[in-house]
Amino acid sequence: MKTESRLEKVLAAGHLAVTSEVGPPRGCGIEIVEKKANLIKDYVDGINITDNQTAMVRMSSIAGGVIVKQMGLDPIIQMVARDRNRLAMQADIIGAYSLGINTMLCLSGDHPKFGDHPNAKGVYDIDSINMINMVKNMRDEGIFQGGAEIKNPPKMFIGAAANPFADPFELRVARLAKKVAAGVDFVQTQCIFNLEKFETWMAGVVDRGLHEKVSVLAGITPMKSVGMARYMKNKVPGMDVPDEVIKRLEGVSKEKQPEEGIKMAIEQIQRLKECKGVAGFHIMAIEWEERVHEIVEGAGLYPRPEV
């Protein structure tokens, strides 16, 4: 084992892993983090804590992660290249690890333009691939990005994102290969609605043997309504929502659309369990944490393994 990460242990034991996420509040509400984490804690192996998602200021992912850790759970802190240079990143990684956090996700981050501080300067000192490489070298070589030795280096299990749906599609397997070369341990994918396209990408991943070097957790997002499906199709960059998804939700009454959305998510997991190379699932139930357990149970992924 490279780390003490529960997620690493679950994956190493050959189980299909399940992760989900908690978006911290836009204020000082510890109880909000606790409430959301409590809703999903028995159904996941790790809980992502988002980092100023959509470029909106929130409680920091590390603070959120510490709250979750103090509940005896397993936070996966997200870190975006948008908000920190390499000094701040490494300081925060050491700090997070010192407070008991052992799993993290290295991301570029949404552009500041999308958030509530569009006048901010994005940092982007290093990109997500170099962040992965930096965290790996901190762990495996015990060195800072600048080359100096670290006393008591942090041992993070290293995650990243993968979006098989953003253009150009032909490059997306190669992009994962670069993350593998940089030292990533697991990836969580963008929300999958176009299963055929995901399976094509995954076939390319397996073809190159990348699935043996990185654990791919398939991103699952249940649709709450047809309105949400249309919004994601038209407004969210890099999202691929096929017309069939919208048609299926249109086919049921408004009251029944949430049930249909949950059912679709379960069906997607059932299908992707059979997809070679899929090592688990990352369930992004956006402000819908209370339904995560239904998806996990419905997909036959409950109970979670003891490791």
């Binding site: 290249a81 948008r82 390499r86 570029s108 981050g109 949404d110 552009h111 333009k113 999308f114 994005g122 982007y124 000192d125 290093i126 990109d127 997500s128 691939i129 170099n130 490489n133 930096m134 990005q145 994102a161 993968a162 979006n163 953003a166 253009d167 150009p168 032909e170 490059l171 190669a174 992009r175 290969a177 670069k178 070369a181 940089a182 963008q190 960059p237 890099g238 999202m239």
Partner: protein
């Protein structure tokens, strides 16, 4: 070249409000090409300032000069006889020109343009950013398309997950630089080079080590 756009007229007028005699100085280089601060724009700005003063029932003396190159002390020296007769200077050059004048003369100097970026002309009247002067050119490995200047996040190893229809997540009018790089590498038959890792950038040559300077011993 360096591109620029004229400031809002009211901002310029605000700067020179206390003064009765001004010198408007244009530049024959980049700002002439991008129609922001050449001889023609100097004339237009002087007319607009005159008109504004007339509306207020006041007058102003305006002298107009356009230098060959405002970022060069040799040409800025040409202002020496005119400067003594004015209360203030309005420079229509880029920020380099404004500062070259300010460092030479003890007269207030005000910028009349906003210096924008190092760009190239895409078509008549359209300029786009192409270079951020990072001091360590990587165009040789990115198919002649710069990810530092043209990727909204200056990513060095490929596109983020926000590309939609080949365009950047920030705007449907902005092509994803890494999509362009990938297409170019494919066109050249060298797409396997995409997988070479570009390590974290040293930002010192880009300005991270403080203001930059070139010293050519053979010329200095």
């Amino acid at each position: 070249m360096i591109t620029a756009e004229q400031k809002p007229l009211q901002e310029i007028i605000g700067y020179i409000a206390p003064y009765g005699k001004i010198l408007v100085v244009g530049c024959n280089e980049c700002v002439t090409v991008c129609a922001a601060g050449g001889r023609k724009e100097v004339g237009l700005l002087a007319s607009a300032i005159h008109l504004d003063r007339l509306k207020q029932g006041k007058t102003i003396d305006i002298k107009e000069i356009t230098l060959e190159r405002q970022c060069d002390p040799e040409y800025v020296e040409e202002l020496v006889s005119s400067v003594g007769e004015v209360d203030a200077i309005v420079s229509m050059a880029c920020g380099c020109g404004v500062q070259t004048i300010a460092s030479r003369y003890k007269v207030p100097v005000f910028p009349a343009v906003n210096t924008k970026f190092m760009g190239a002309s895409k078509s008549q009247g359209i300029w786009e950013e192409r270079c951020q002067g990072c001091g360590d050119c990587m165009l040789g490995i990115t198919g002649g398309i710069c990810p530092v200047a043209r990727c909204s996040k200056s990513l060095l190893n490929g596109p983020c997950g926000g590309t939609s229809d080949g365009q950047c997540e920030i705007s449907p009018d902005t092509p994803c630089a890494w999509r362009l790089i990938w297409e170019r590498l494919v066109e050249l038959g060298i797409e396997d080079r995409y997988e070479e890792l570009n390590m974290a950038k040293d930002w010192r040559p880009a300005g991270g080590a403080g203001p930059r300077r070139i010293i050519r011993e053979d010329l200095a």
